[in-house]
Amino acid sequence: MTGNNVVLAVALLVWGLLFYYLLRLEGRIRKLEK
């Protein structure tokens, strides 16, 4: 479990969370646009 891999995992996690948040936001916006 090298330091490199830890940072990699954190980075992917952060990106995943951000993407998920944006995707949900987009879903809500689309509903409101209908």
Partner: protein, 224 residues
């Protein structure tokens, strides 16, 4: 939908490759990885500023509030990415050269951009009426446009003479290896796509809010 999926995988791939496949730059060692986030952040900062300024000018010409939505949103996003670039740069400086802040020309430039963003957003925050806010913010945007070249290029150069930069900027060596260049370019594109998506989302929210206010039923989009 497909585009979102592509963006997800694109950036994820970039992150993975940045940590595994791309080689290290000899001078930078492990800190090489930072440049895949730090420089794209700085790039988006500048892109956002340009977008905001163009939108401001378009507003002054066409007077459609949508242009001001773009101007304000791009500035908010620009501030976020600017903070990201500044913080990542500072951490990188600490790892590389032992101190968080040196007023090195590039650090100074990004700090000035931060000031411009904060000032612009503060000005916007102090005006309630949408059309006046759009107009005055646009005027400031144009004024900032002439100040930025002086801030970014001239002022840092002035202080070169006072505080000669003893630190070798490794930037010249970085883009030589092909793999590095590929991941780097990939991340640049990825960050640009991310910026565009976030901008698009926020502008659509503002459009909805305005439509609802016109219809007499103001409502906030939760989480926006």
């Amino acid at each position: 939908m497909i585009l979102r999926g592509i963006l997800l995988l694109w950036i994820a791939a970039g992150i993975i490759l940045a940590f595994t496949w791309a080689p290290l730059v000899p001078v930078l060692q492990e800190t090489t990885r930072v440049l895949y986030f730090h420089i794209p952040s700085a790039w988006v900062t500048v892109l956002a500023l340009g977008w905001s300024m163009v939108a401001s000018v378009l507003y002054l010409y066409r007077r459609r509030l949508e242009y001001d939505d773009h101007a304000g949103t791009a500035a908010e996003l620009g501030l976020l990415f600017c903070i990201g670039a500044t913080v990542s740069g500072s951490l990188w400086a600490k790892a590389m050269w032992g101190s968080y802040w040196n007023w090195d020309p590039r650090e100074t430039s990004i700090f000035f951009l931060l000031l411009v963003y904060v000032a612009y957003l503060a000005l916007r925050g102090a005006i309630d009426e949408p059309r006046r806010r759009a107009r005055l913010a646009a005027i400031y945007s144009v004024a900032a446009f002439v100040a930025v070249p002086f801030l970014m290029f001239v002022v840092p150069r002035l202080y070169d003479t006072l505080h000669p930069d003893p630190i070798i900027n490794p930037r010249g060596k970085v883009d030589m290896d092909n793999r590095i260049r590929m991941v780097f370019t990939g991340m640049l594109l990825g960050f640009t796509g991310l910026f565009y998506w976030m901008l698009n989302l926020r502008v659509r929210v503002l459009r909805i809010e305005r439509r609802r206010e016109d219809q007499g039923r103001p409502m906030e989009v939760a989480g926006a």
